[in-house]
Symmetry: C2
Subunit: 424 residues, 2 copies
């Protein structure tokens, strides 16, 4: 590609994380240093907003707002779960691709950055290929994000460290609470965390043990390992016998031996005959309370765990920012169709750098926990996993507070004038 | 009472809070300054441990551990829900009271401090009256604690400010997350918090709005106000029409028009015909998703909200510590049968002091949110409540960290030699 001169468009996709805005801050900060980038635009609600030509002018934002994005949760530009569906709706997808390139051309977009997970990297890859096919000169870069930590090629994903830091402190605190209430009657608490296919998030809570086997969590149920009910109940019973209480963490996607998610157990019907979708923790609590006659309570962290910027990992914030920055540097250097990845240089004395990976190696590939990082009985990640995960939660963020609560950044979002007719 | 000389016993009761240990630190710190207090003992697991003569010697703890208690969640001495049941089991209760005074006498306990909520203050009151009846010279003091904020006489309860600070940041963060995902399809998130009878905890999340009516939470359902399903659904619908999303906070004890807890809805049966007790948020989600066909997700913070010392309110920590300290000063001054209370001197420029209240005015009285602090439609606390609650979440705690997680205090708990035969 000849040296590109033109405007930059950055957008966000998929479920937010505590640090997806830090990556956007990295893109914007670095973009400001290069004269070949003329205007910096944000796309609202990802692809969906770009299709509607809903762009905002980042130059109208205060510089302190861009700094503030480093510590602001959720997707400051808005996000979407919209997929250009070439597989099932090829005609509509082709129309949408046409429209995207109309928007790119109308606003002279020559640098396009899209932060997201597996599905989103597939979208970015398709746009990259399409730009080449159409002879439209544009650098197209993916920016990694997902608390699920299931992208391949990168050592880990921005967003993951903060999610497991928050979940680990929560499990540690609940462990102290339930432990201090424990009397001879015994008790159990089941904490449900995100992760439908991969168990990275659930596994990360093992850090709450802080090296002490007696500490919570005592059992971690991963979606990768089908639940053996009898072995699970025996383990709960043994833990209560030893400690008078038991803390269980489960990924939301834990499956039974038949491969069905236990949180959507079809045996549990509501008054209208619909399956009760109250989740894995509730299903496990029903099991434990029913079979062991043990007082059992549940916690479901839900969206809190991916939005808890008040307790994000500083390491994660730094890495997320660096990914955004590296994406711009690569684009300026004439590259396209890549995603920055985190390369671990040293684990014990944690050091990392940013590499680049072709999007074709990322799109639609899911990365699972290696079986050898999980104990033989499947109930806890082992030392190899702990060595991997420990550095990712290091460092406490400092967030400006007012009236006792964080002052998160809200963008002004001044709209860029539309140049096209509305989409049909 | 003549000036007392002897040993001190302190214990904890009921559900823990983020700051119940700060109160214990206040008791221990102040006790160390008075020569009339010879030994400082802790009772393990409240009354239950004292009945078993399970005492520990606080003098064997490091002074930095006592300092660390200020920021350590859960009950460091262990706690219990045990009640001396004079009403239903008078004979057993009388035996237990005899046993308690045997333990007090055997260890020359002349100062007894018990930190807890309504039930526990009733226990303390009974012990106080019993000491007088028996002519056993001992100062007996309650120390207030409960995240429920339902003790009378005190402006608010130690533990409450930290619970609503954590819940408010969580609701604010989830609000940003869900808001950033909101597209024309709309979505709803229902966050369940503690509070079975009183809605103080749910109400406190209104602070997440930070003065902006557009911010989450959009609806707060309090146990005090029976749920009007039609009005609730209409409000969710209107909120989604305006903002494309709606964040609802509900107290776990929200009731229907018949006065039944909706979280224990008998219409929802499991495969064995038992009522599904999955909670208020799940019941509301079934309602919203079913009636409005709106994507609805739930969050259940459970024990996390009373244990989240990593985001406690510094104001709450200071007040909890001051309550412990004031209890000792009053006891040294020859007083008994009292509980320290927080007296608000000024709201806008928040100032407070510690007063003392006779236990007979505290025991078994529940304090609810005044109706005039809630909007007419019942869906949000109003400005009067916000003025009341705002100062309670001020101040961020600084907690020592290691490997990315808080270093909470664990007591050594060296046992005091038993002097009595085991309990029959």
């Amino acid at each position: 590609m000849a040296e590109l001169i033109g405007n930059l468009l950055v957008a966000q996709s998929g479920g937010p994380t505590s640090v997806i805005n830090a990556s956007i801050a990295g893109v914007i900060t670095e973009a400001g240093h290069h004269e070949c980038i003329e205007e910096i635009y944000g796309g609202l609600n990802g692809i969906l907003g770009i299709l509607n030509e809903d762009l905002i002018d980042i130059n109208d934002e205060l510089s302190k707002s861009i700094e503030g994005l480093k510590n602001t949760p959720a997707a400051a530009l808005g996000t979407c779960r919209y997929k250009i569906d070439f597989k099932n709706k090829p005609e509509k997808a082709a129309q949408e691709m046409d429209r995207l390139f109309e928007v790119f051309a109308a606003h002279n977009i020559r640098f396009f950055f899209y932060a997201g997970g597996n599905d989103s990297q597939d979208t970015v890859h398709k746009i990259h290929l399409e730009a080449i096919k159409r002879g439209y000169e544009m650098s197209v870069m993916g920016v990694p994000k997902t608390i699920d930590n299931d992208l391949p090629a990168t050592d880990h994903c921005p967003g993951y460290g903060s999610a497991i830091k928050y979940n680990a402190v929560t499990v540690a605190e609940i462990g102290l609470d339930v432990g201090s209430m424990a009397t001879d009657d015994g008790s159990c608490c089941i904490i449900e965390v995100m992760g439908r296919a991969a168990g990275w998030i659930a596994a990360g809570t093992v850090l709450a043990k802080q090296g002490n086997p007696a500490n919570a969590p005592h059992i971690i149920l991963l979606p990768e390992i089908p639940l053996d009910e009898a072995a699970f109940l025996a383990r709960v019973k043994a833990t209560v016998a030893e400690h008078k209480y038991c803390i269980v963490v489960c990924g939301e996607g834990v499956k039974n031996q038949a491969g069905e998610e236990i949180g959507a157990d079809k045996a549990r019907l509501d008054a209208f005959g619909h399956a009760v979708l109250s989740g894995a923790a509730e299903a496990l609590a029903t099991l434990v309370q029913g079979k062991l006659n043990l007082k059992t309570r549940t916690v479901k962290l839900g969206y809190a765990q991916r939005a808890a910027a008040h307790y994000a990992s500083q390491t994660d914030v730094d890495e997320a920012f660096a990914c955004g920055l590296a994406a711009v540097r690569a684009a300026i250097g004439g590259k396209s169709g890549l995603m920055p990845k985190i390369v671990r240089l040293n684990s014990a004395l944690y050091r990392w750098e940013i590499g680049l990976e072709p999007l074709e190696n990322i799109a639609n590939v899911e990365h699972f926990i290696p079986r050898e990082w999980i104990s033989e009985d499947g109930f806890l990640p082992n030392a190899a996993f702990i060595e991997y995960a420990s550095p990712l939660i290091e460092g406490q963020v400092q967030i400006p507070h007012k009236n006792g609560l964080p002052q998160y950044t809200v963008l002004v979002k001044s709209p860029v004038e539309k140049k096209l007719a509305p989409r049909a």
